[in-house]
């Protein structure tokens, strides 16, 4: 077990290296440079000033040299400085240790994603199981229909509709941001309540699409298992339906779901970029979007690397989960 873990961790290093190499080249392939915002079609800029700026940012060197320089810093865990005006270190922008935990970008993104993941799993698994056990019943049909609605609705659109309804029309929930303007003058309980209200819509929207997908997977996988011989055997033994399903079938039906858990990390990070922008949430996704728009290479690379590490950890965790759930894999 321990050896397996160490082996897996070591394997992650070349993978990570490959990911960063590819990402670095792809973002440099995109047309445009970080200096464009300052210089393109700006009559105040002379060609000399332009070259000077490019040199200042090291953009005059061949791309492979630029990658080498980036890599040299990264092995010392230094993500470099952002190209944006204030030149802050990338790490400080993502994980500012001077700020309280609740206001660090990575933590905000992480918190919302963990919350929505919890919601997805606590709702999707029971929904999937019950619609499998009641296949073709009215209940199954209703859930199937709602699931397709959930799949079909683009999340940015749903977000806007909900904001209109709850924010403008009814005035129950705040529309954007993470806390109210008068946050500092609130008592502790009010502060917690304020933050909860602000999180409701984003968490709901980010879990909505995933909810639909996962409950379908759960339903399919449960149906598969219910057809197996050992389920028939269990029923023949005279076990109660409850024990058949929750004692024997569920454990096996959960296996593919564990794999999905690991695979869903990149999707969640990608989704963060969209909903953090819509809801004006100062998380990592919003920062990434800003970075891409201004071609802030060190910032983009920093976030991509963190995203890659999170994805690899997610995969590792799901493999470990798989091992725990399935004795057959443990033996191998």
């Amino acid at each position: 077990m321990l050896i397996y873990l160490i082996k897996r961790l070591l394997e992650m290093i070349p993978t990570l290296f490959g990911i960063t190499l590819l990402s670095f080249f792809i973002i440099h392939l995109a047309p445009g440079k970080p200096t464009d915002i300052l210089t393109e079609l700006n009559p105040k800029i002379t060609p000399e000033a332009r070259l000077k700026l490019e040199k200042y940012y090291g953009l005059d060197k061949p791309i492979i040299v630029q990658y080498g320089m980036w890599l040299k810093r990264i092995v010392k865990l230094d993500f470099g400085e952002s190209f944006s005006g204030d030149r802050r270190p990338v790490m400080e922008r993502i994980w500012d240790t001077k700020k309280p935990l609740l206001e660090r970008r990575l933590f905000i993104t992480f918190l919302i994603n963990v919350l929505s993941m919890l919601i997805i799993f606590t709702i999707a698994i029971p929904v999937g199981i019950s619609s499998a056990t009641h296949q073709y019943s009215l209940y199954d049909k209703i859930t199937t229909t709602s699931v397709f609605i959930g799949f079909a609705i683009p999340s940015f659109w749903l977000a806007l509709l909900l904001m209109m309804l709850f924010g403008v029309h009814l005035g129950w929930l705040p529309i954007s941001g993470l806390k109210s303007m008068n946050y500092d003058s609130l008592t502790l309980m009010q502060k917690i309540w304020d933050r909860t209200l602000h999180l409701l819509l984003p968490v709901f929207v980010s879990s909505f699409g995933g909810l639909a997908g996962l409950s379908r997977y759960m339903r399919g996988s449960m149906l598969e298992v219910l057809r197996q011989d050992y389920v028939t055997t269990a029923r023949a033994k005279g076990l109660s339906e409850k024990r058949v399903i929750y004692g024997h079938a569920l454990r096996n039906a959960l296996l593919p779901i564990i794999t999905l858990l690991g695979l869903s990390v990149p999707g969640l990070i990608g989704g963060s970029v969209i909903f953090e922008n819509i809801f004006g949430i100062p998380g990592m996704g919003q920062l990434f979007f800003m970075g891409v728009m201004t071609r802030d290479y060190p910032l983009i690379m920093g976030i991509l690397t963190i995203g890659a590490i999170l994805t690899l950890i997610g995969n590792l965790l799901s493999d470990i989960g798989y091992m725990l759930a399935d004795p057959r894999i443990r033996v191998k």
Partner: protein
């Protein structure tokens, strides 16, 4: 199987219907009294309340010389003052300067600064601070795009605590206005430090009407009024920039009361805010912005070398139609490279009224006629067809191109439109002069000097006369315009340049769009002017009864 699929398909119909129904009921809410009814205000200004401006872009740094984006300059403009600034009629007036004198040959400017102005930390502002700012901006190691104007300075001397003198290599008319807020930095805080490394860009200390209270990345920049501001304490106690990257969310926040002011889009201005709710709670403003959209010709192209062809195209385009359709009427026709109601703008230039018949006549004179009956005019066997390039993602320009395409088809010119990604467009087509016609826009500075755009020497790669315009008379005038200080003299020069440009038509000047901000109606004292609304922000106020936020210092 088939019947199963049919059944499934039929099931989808009520589903889709259901979704659209939900959409419709949600999209058309009836606005209740979200914000209390307002009574007419008392006309005296009082202190208090906060104004929240919504913006889609977050500032990158609050050091003006390092910032390239408008969000940064907007916030920094509240924190810093310039040596000089523009008045509402676009004349230059003193900001931190009490007065100045220009030597008769225009080479030496001596500024006298106001006494007793203090940085927000209490230290007095002096000429040494300007010297420091100047030295920083010309420093090789400072990554700033704004060096150029200051490289023209031959000598900078501090004469005494409140006086400094700059000597130029050549007379340079834009010199005076270059002494804005780019070169005002507190020496006592920054001397000996690398400004790109210090945290001054996030914790600036200025002399301006507002000072930074806090800046929460991705969320808000909060400014408090500077009670010791040399021009009087601002009435609004707090000014907050809320960063909301999504324009649709921004507009919803406006309705929900989360922000007090924002810039609208033409459709929001004309349609979506045209309700009782908005009329009651908000005031809208409209003024021309300092940029214009044009169609530029590649003057090296054999067809476009002929002035008559360019003039014919101008006659075939209906500018007011473009403004009505593309901008919902929120703009004005452009006749030259300046904005209406500013001093260099010449309203008397040749205008090309919409007249397709005249266009056809001009083309015929130039030898273009439909000889083979295919509906496209031709000359020497070649049909008159060309491609308009513009950048992807700019709806206004794409729509403009489409209208022009349709209008030109009517006089027998075939136009194709090609959309390009911005960087590709600039690097591969503009810089290499691989185009026939382009639709682009220029943001123009407040100084009328446009040497870089029209002078015949500025046609190399990465320079801005990419249409290859060459008129020796214009060259001479441009040279003269930037060496003359007398505003009446300069006015004559730029009037003449506009007359020549209107006749030569290197560009067809299309339109000047309007800026269309909306502000909550409880905020009083806003006086729109050619330079916008926010120039007198320290004088805005909210009558006591209407104040919404209580600010404790």
């Amino acid at each position: 199987m088939l019947s199963y699929i049919l059944k499934r398909l039929l099931l989808m119909i009520p589903l889709i219907f259901g979704i659209t129904l939900i959409t419709f009921t949600i999209i058309h809410p009836t606005y209740g009294d979200l914000v209390g009814r307002e009574t007419e205000s008392i006309a005296t200004a009082v202190y208090g309340d906060a104004v929240i401006e919504g913006t889609i872009g977050e500032p990158s740094t609050l050091i003006p010389m390092l910032a390239g984006d408008s969000a940064s300059h907007g916030v920094a403009g509240m924190i810093f003052n310039g040596i000089v600034k523009y008045d509402t009629d676009l004349k230059v007036i003193g900001d931190l300067a009490e007065s100045w004198t220009i030597s008769p040959d225009g080479m030496v400017i001596t500024f006298r600064l106001k006494k007793g102005v203090k940085w927000a930390d209490g230290v007095e502002f002096t000429a040494d601070d300007v010297m420091f700012g100047y030295k920083t901006i010309i420093d090789e190691k400072t990554p700033t795009p704004y060096k150029e104007d200051y490289m023209q300075v031959k000598k900078f001397e501090v004469l005494d605590r409140y006086t400094f003198r700059v000597t130029y290599k050549k007379p340079f008319a834009p010199a005076l206005t270059s002494w804005g807020n780019l070169v005002v930095l507190p020496r006592h805080l920054l001397e000996g430090k690398d400004i790109t490394k210090s945290d001054f860009g996030r914790n600036p200390i200025g002399t301006g009407p507002y000072k930074l209270r806090k800046w929460v990345s991705g969320q808000e920049v909060v400014l408090d009024s500077n009670r010791d501001y040399f021009d009087g304490r601002p009435y609004i106690d707090r000014y907050i920039y809320r960063v909301i990257p999504d324009p649709a969310t921004l507009f919803l926040e406006l309705q929900a009361g989360g922000i007090d002011m924002m810039g609208l889009t033409p459709i929001q201005y004309t349609k979506q805010t045209n309700t009782d709710f908005f009329r009651k709670n908000f005031q809208k403003f409209r003024y021309p912005v300092f940029n214009y959209t044009y169609m530029g010709f590649n003057l090296k192209h054999p067809w476009f070398k002929d002035k008559r062809v360019r003039q014919a195209i101008a006659h075939a385009i209906d500018k007011s139609e473009i403004i009505d359709v593309v901008l919902f009427g929120l703009g004005s026709p452009a006749t030259g490279p300046y904005v209406p109601n500013t001093w260099p703008y010449n309203p008397y230039v040749k205008k090309y009224e919409f007249d397709p018949e005249k266009a056809k006549r001009l083309l015929k004179e130039a030898g273009w006629e439909d000889t083979d009956g295919d509906g496209i005019i031709d000359k020497d066997g070649k049909p008159l067809q060309f491609t308009i390039l513009t950048n992807m993602g700019n709806r206004l320009r794409i729509n403009t191109a489409t209208i022009i395409q349709w209008r030109l088809a009517k006089i027998g010119i075939k136009v194709e439109i090609r959309l390009l990604e911005w960087s590709t467009f600039i690097n591969e087509f503009i810089d290499k002069k691989r185009f026939e016609a382009v639709i682009l826009g220029w943001s123009i500075g407040l100084d009328p000097d446009q040497y870089d755009i029209w002078h015949s020497s500025k046609t190399r790669e990465k320079e801005f006369n990419f249409v290859s315009y060459n008129n020796p008379l214009v060259d001479t005038l441009l040279e003269k315009g930037r060496r003359t200080f007398n505003i009446e003299e300069r006015k004559k020069v730029y009037y003449k340049i506009q007359e020549i440009l209107a006749d030569d038509l290197p560009y067809i000047f299309l339109y000047v769009p309007d800026a269309i901000p909306i502000v909550h109606s409880r905020i009083k004292g806003i006086k729109p002017s050619p330079i916008g609304i926010s120039y007198n922000l320290p004088k805005w106020y909210v009558p006591e009864k209407l104040q919404r936020y209580r600010i404790e210092p």
